[in-house]
Amino acid sequence: MRILILIIGMGIVTYLPRMLPAVLVEKIRFNKKMEKFLSLIPYTAMAALIFPGVLSVDEGNMAIGLVGAFVAVILSWLKMPIMLVVVGAIISDIVVYMLV
């Protein structure tokens, strides 16, 4: 029962921030400045999601995150498809684990 209440409560507080803008944006018209601000959000959001979290992929070994991210940066710089970038990063980390 306790778990069920927890799940439902978590569901509500997760859904609210995702849903509220759908209701509110209807009524607001953003000006040019605000549009520009919003258009930057995807980039800053992803930057913040990647860094510094990537350094602690393995709490005990920063090299795992660094090597994986480095390989991902190189592969994506070379315009590889996303799937290849991800697989490349995983394989490089498997190699690091086998070497350490």
Binding site: T14, A45, F51, P81, I82, I90, D93
Partner: protein, 228 residues
């Protein structure tokens, strides 16, 4: 239908990032004392990787239900910002449709959607992305519950990089052409690391997203369109 399929195709590579997290959540949830059905139900209802994993950690440490719910709220506040962006782009669509699409709005679907070119039937496109992500999240949770620890340690640990690698792969094509945008991304990462020393990681995340965008307003010249 074409836009739906294109959404599904866009979402597929990101499953590589979602599935390992789902599997780990399944494993962690079982180890933390949840029944398999409870873990899967949580993945269906909550649909938020980081907060689900955190909730198990808090449960194990004996935290109260309201405390866990409040922490979940804080972690997911960032979606308020992301959803504002998405909903602004879907402005012309029906409210009920948008409320339904909001249900599966997560970091991944936001990333894919916001980096895609604007087009007709963006709502159907986003729905395609959401369906793929939703199914892979729920199914991978179930796999984690069953598998527990069948995977060799080296491989399951290496899967942790998938989440970050997929974000790097989404971000790179857009910033490699625009050095000012590249700079904003780097600065935001640095701000987030500094804030992380003083605040919880979810608070740091929210503030660095907003401050990073403010800095971008100054650095990036108006005539250069940042979104394509």
């Amino acid at each position: 239908m074409k836009r739906f399929i294109s959404g599904v195709k866009t979402g597929l590579p990101i499953c590589m990032g979602v599935i390992p997290v789902g599997i780990s959540f399944g494993i962690i949830a079982r180890q933390g004392g949840l029944e398999s059905w409870q873990a899967i139900l949580m993945s269906i209802i909550v649909f938020a990787g980081a907060s689900q994993i955190m909730s198990i950690g808090m449960l194990v440490q004996g935290a109260s239900v309201p405390a866990i719910i409040f922490a979940t709220f804080l972690i997911n506040l960032r979606h308020l910002i992301m959803s504002t962006y998405v909903m602004n782009r879907l402005k012309e669509k029906g409210l009920l449709k948008k409320m339904a699409l909001a249900y599966v709005l997560c970091d991944e679907s936001f990333a894919l959607f916001s980096m895609s070119e604007e087009g007709e039937d963006d709502d159907i496109f986003l729905f395609g992305i959401n369906v793929v992500l939703g199914i892979s999240w729920i199914v991978s949770t179930a796999i984690g519950c069953i598998a527990l620890s069948v995977l060799p340690d080296t491989i399951s640990k290496s899967l942790g990089i998938a989440f970050y690698a997929s974000f790097i792969a989404i971000l790179m094509p857009n910033i490699r052409k625009n050095m000012q945008l590249f700079l904003v991304v780097i600065i935001t990462g640095i701000i987030n690391s500094m804030f992380g020393m003083f605040f919880s990681s979810s608070t740091a995340l929210i503030f660095s997203i907003l401050i990073g965008a403010c800095i971008g307003m100054v650095i990036i010249k108006d005539e250069e369109r940042s979104m394509e």
